[in-house]
Point group: C2
Chain length 512, copies 2
């Protein structure tokens, strides 16, 4: 008799033994991996080999995962294990029955191949690719090929608009009842540039609605969410966020719990691995998050400098044109502000150290870094004018008054209280100065070396770790004078960080 009743894509055919979940506790970060014994029935009958992409199901939940093979004693033929991310996605518990089948053929891969072969994609094709990416159905090699195929202007304005829309549609969307919903974004690349909490406090004190959601650091020593987490609770869900904004007009939360443009997080992870950044991806990444957050007026801070992300004014102009094209398509108002990107901002680099700078500026103490204060007031003023909350040309003065009067500080306290209470960031146990090898004048500070040193010290994972800057460009220094202080929670991390700092001098000093 022919076996024509057999379901092809499950492992419960005759003779196949059921697979039982056994946790092994292997962490592969965001990559889903399933571990099977090479002689298990499903591997033999389906012909699965290591690195095959398979569909894994427990109960009603299913994911696509990469197959790794593990023999005894870790696994028996009737057992299956999952990487930490896969176990989480499937809510797997010891003893659960795991079903394995061939990963479904992805229709959107035809569109991906069309793009690789240089064709224009329509909105439906882009939507199908982004839907599969955000559902975790693309292996990284497919995502990487998509990014490479779209780089170098191979994605035009219309495709960038479609990409942005598809990314917005990949997640949740917040809706507010105000005509003007302000937002503030920095394209990044400048250590210590933690103006966002200050700008939000000033602008909200000036009457703007500002439901700010931020990311954690991906490759930098701190993201705004990391910094804010040393001061208050940031992992709020959508209902909690709405409650905070309705109460105090603004928020400073982590966007990760809100599922806004989740495809963006996946694309960014692979982009960073490749270290490529196309204009189309950058624009869709930034604006999809803002559209999903319900913003109408967005100020974008673009630091320009030789070791910043944007290195020349011509890059800024190209980015601005692409940004404006997409913003227009969605009826968004954007204001691009070029700022100085030649050196770190403020003194602290790392979550807690930056939080201390933020507090010092808002509380108007003598420790407040003047450059951080000045930049925050300028940006807040520009945002107030842009949103019609200050007359043209009067924004900076209005912002300065809101800060100096303590109104912004009280607003910041109210935001933190609404989110779960204000707390004071901790301090590192281990510290060591990196000193000037000779006397002279500081001519340049390398943002990338500074960021790397702060990360080797433990930032952002260890909140109190990082760097405290002691000099700025144009300062005169004498031999042996501290240039910056490394803060760490473990002596090993302090050693590593200092060793790197000595091998890669971040502060250039011209002798007299």
């Amino acid at each position: 008799m022919l076996a024509n009743e057999l379901p092809l894509s499950t492992n419960d055919s005759q003779g196949a033994e059921p697979l039982i979940f056994k946790p092994l506790g292997i962490d592969t970060w965001q990559e889903h991996v399933i571990y099977l014994h090479p002689d298990c029935t499903v591997c033999r009958s389906e012909g699965f080999a290591a690195q095959a992409r398979v569909q894994v199901q427990i109960g009603d939940r299913r994911i696509i995962a990469t197959l790794n093979l593990v023999g005894a004693p870790l696994l028996e033929t009737a057992q299956a294990s999952l990487s930490a991310s896969a176990a989480l996605a499937l809510a797997a518990r010891t003893g659960d029955v795991v079903s394995i089948s061939h990963a479904p053929a992805l229709e959107s891969v035809r569109a991906l191949r069309a793009k690789i072969y240089g064709r224009r994609l329509d909105g439906g094709q882009i939507e199908s690719i982004i839907r599969d990416i955000s559902a975790g159905r693309y292996p990284d090699v497919h995502i990487s090929a998509f990014l490479a195929a779209c780089a170098d202007g191979r994605m035009n304005g219309r495709e960038t608009v479609d990409l942005t829309r598809a990314m917005v549609n990949s997640g949740e969307r917040l809706v507010w009842d105000q005509a003007v919903v302000a937002d503030k974004h920095c394209v990044g690349g400048l250590p210590g540039n933690r103006t966002t909490p200050i700008v939000v406090a000033i602008a909200a004190a000036g009457g703007l609605m500002l439901p700010k959601t931020s990311s954690r650091a991906i490759t930098s020593p701190a993201g705004t969410a990391d910094t804010m987490e040393t001061l208050t609770r940031v992992a709020l869900d959508a209902a909690e966020l709405r409650h905070v904004v309705e109460r105090v007009g603004a928020s400073l939360v982590w966007g990760g719990a809100l599922n806004l443009s989740p495809a963006d997080d996946i694309l960014i992870r692979v982009e960073r691995a490749l270290d490529i950044d196309s204009d189309a991806q950058l624009v869709a990444s930034i604006l999809s998050k803002k559209i999903a957050a319900g913003s109408t007026h967005i100020l974008i801070d673009v630091p320009v400098g030789p070791t910043a992300k944007i290195r020349e004014d011509s890059d800024l102009e190209r980015l601005e044109a692409a940004m404006r094209h997409v913003a227009d398509a969605f009826g968004l108002q954007i204001l691009m502000v070029r700022t100085d990107g030649t050196q770190p901002v403020g003194k602290g680099i790392g979550p807690a150290l930056e939080a201390r700078d933020v507090l010092a500026v808002l509380q108007r103490t003598v420790a407040a870094p003047p450059d951080l204060r000045e930049r925050s007031v300028m940006l807040a003023g520009a945002l107030l004018e842009f949103c019609g909350a200050a007359p043209p040309g009067r924004g900076t003065r209005a912002a300065g008054s809101l800060l100096d009067s303590g109104t912004a500080w009280r607003k910041f306290e109210a935001i933190c209280e609404a989110q779960g209470g204000l707390r004071i960031p901790g301090e590192a146990i281990f510290r060591r100065d990196i000193v000037a090898p000779h006397a002279g004048k500081v001519t340049a500070i390398d943002n990338r070396h500074i960021a790397r040193t702060a990360k080797l010290a433990g930032a952002p994972m260890r909140h109190v770790a990082g760097i405290e800057m002691r000099v700025r460009v144009n300062d005169e220094v004498r031999a042996g004078q501290p240039l910056f202080t490394v803060h760490a929670q473990a002596s090993g991390e302090l050693d590593y960080s200092c060793s790197y700092a000595l091998a890669h001098p971040a502060v250039s000093i011209a002798p007299h």
Copy 2:
């Protein structure tokens, strides 16, 4: 005191405990993975997180691997484990001391990014990329981005020549003392098309030197190396190959042990995952292997058909132009032969079943499939003429005589004896017919469904598994007549294969 003497990129700094290798037996195929405890000193001090790319060293050997984190009880903080491929590459033994450091920055990634951004690469840049790929220093996402960046004609003729040269330089190169060294290649996509052993036997019997190296199947039910392995020993090293060819004038070995164009194997693996095939990659892939093998005259069989790899004559013309450009640059003679790609060739599909067809043709038995015999004679004749071993227009007749007289069979025996002895392939235990659901005439056979059915039956891993075709296009069939027979070594595999075959009819029958 400042720690300026510390080596930055090793884990033997003060306080770091040495890591001891503990095998866990995890198979990730070709992807090198290292498993560490999340709280091990090197993870903490270097800030390594899961999926980081790290350099791993045991003794003098070092590789780049992807980091996965594993807690107790599998690993303690002072232990490290390696995936099977990584352990093999490092010759790791239980108790070895494992050193971990940051993966070195790859200079060639600048060239990769330049290509992604649409620039032409010079020979040195292409060489640097291929060198890093063949040394295993590129993660798959980088390889994938490289392939996507080079597709759609974004690599010109000169770059394709440079790519081919770089791939040749990535491995060993064979040198022969004859002016004419013949080779024969098929671009693939046609199940059962196992003409190579027959063509080699005839052409060598006709006086040609033919040191043939073949690959194992990558996505097909059998490669020539898999088929030959059921008949003789194929994993010969370069010295053994030379000895065989000097003795009998030809070989039929697996190329994998010879390290010819190893970069090609890595690129193909990622190409298959993406299911993309650019002309530049295909040309460089085929010709780099042939140049490395020392061939001078290459016949390339290109089956054209609606379910073959090359589907239209226009694709063939474009491929031929690209192929000829590169061949000219290296002084290679190539002859492209268009063949019928509308249905499988011979009866058997799968290593042992194809080997039986090969033997039947060479031994002139009644079981010899006429289409396989005819195609092999035509190709061997074309090769004899092309290499000057037969007068123009007389090749087919000469080839036919060499086959009919038994000379080709004796040459084949001699080749197998020289390689280690001729053996007879086995037979499968489980068989089941797939029959015609109704009477009519066979109008088409889908190569892809046939190949998939043979693979689900166990081919090529289980040598005796596969399909035996029982009909050809234009045959008349009655209801219930066998269309093909599935051969398997396990009843579960037989069921799976038949279930797929019934759900995806490969043989189209037009009722009368």
